[in-house]
Symmetry: C3
């Protein structure tokens, strides 16, 4: 049972990171790492405190991002773990024909994690960029009205949570 | 243990929805919702009973669809829950250069769910369309013979199940 | 509890397959199947021992692949199971405008599995090719320095594991 619980906590940390980046919730991003944790990214390498500044600025270039993850293989070793996560990140924004603002990348997160005071979080991450595909000129408008996302507390996620907890 | 079991049941409801849409099994789609559940979609908003009619017709436009989901963060509150699911939906069909029949969309399902008589299902869903990318003119024929899907009981899934249960 | 443990072992077998193919680790690919297991693929149908030879050669055509999986619905029946897994496979390699070396496919794995001597593995797989999309001319170089993958033990995954276990 401990193994399943540990793995669920590890998975949640990685998913919190994705949600945090996509909703521009930097507290959520930060919560995936231990203080002083290290992130190696394309274009950045250093402690999480600086990473959050860097990624926060980088995200401003886009109208939105979506970090979808799948495969997750976790190896536990007591209070430490190795977790590999596969994913793709969609990025979009004006102008629609700019490949630097409209692209999808494939990545793997390789995370060394540990449990400190009962909390699983990342000590060191290698964000491996596998491929980058331009979506310039391919993105289309929606074909009707419907729920839209936003990068703040107006997102349907937060409004639904308010309904859950009221 | 209850938490893990509840979350597994919630995950299964979302996955049944995806399978149901892709295999055109409307009973399976319906099984993801409670009676009277509400769905907010791009181009539709209303009770599940009407949604099933609407989506069933909409799906006829395509030769096939594939609703692949990843990230799932679930917040439990007794017999109620909030579940966010990330995914992409591929759509294809003739003619191959029609972007309305050949596209991929990125979505998040935000689901308010509850457990009634031991069954977790959706009370209200916001299907957020994040982006839509044309695949017109990019889809290719397979480079050899091999298993193909179908949107009925001829799909390899059902044939394999018959082998499992015989 | 047994059900959750069984399902976790089934999920791991499928994920080991994906990692094995992407890292060119054929022992890992093989570990997903029982000896004599059958694989039905686009362009191949036969026992795993021959499949490993075939796929190993096919993978040489590419500079890299990434098999990302999502939805997984598992039906248990004692020591046997049916598992359907959704996924996409990105393939890339020179020259960048060759659609046979730069494409993404959508697939479903339909796996009949069994537990033998406590080990869950595949007896028969149908790898259904749902769609294939050319990425020719769309892949871009990275916009900065950062972690890169490799198809051998130099990959950051293995280097991080060495840090975990030292």
């Amino acid at each position: 049972m401990t193994e399943a619980t540990d793995k669920a906590a590890i998975t949640e940390a990685v998913l919190r990171y994705c949600r945090g980046v996509d909703r521009l919730d930097m507290d959520l991003v930060r919560s995936a790492y231990h203080p002083g944790g290290i992130d190696h990214h394309t274009g950045f390498s250093g402690p999480i405190e600086e990473y959050v500044e860097w990624v926060s600025t980088a995200l401003q270039r886009f109208a939105g991002t979506m970090h979808t993850v799948g495969n997750q293989l976790i190896e536990l070793r007591g209070n430490r773990a190795l977790c590999e996560t596969y994913g793709t990140a969609a990025h979009w924004g004006p102008p629609p024909d700019d490949p630097r603002r409209n692209f999808t990348s494939g990545f793997r997160y390789v995370d060394l994690m540990s449990r400190v005071d009962g909390r699983w979080a990342i000590d060191e991450r290698w964000a491996i960029r596998e491929w980058t595909r331009s979506d310039a000129g391919r993105l289309m408008a929606k074909e009707g009205e419907g729920p839209s996302g936003s990068r703040d507390r107006e997102d349907p996620l937060y409004r639904a949570r308010a309904l859950l907890t009221r």
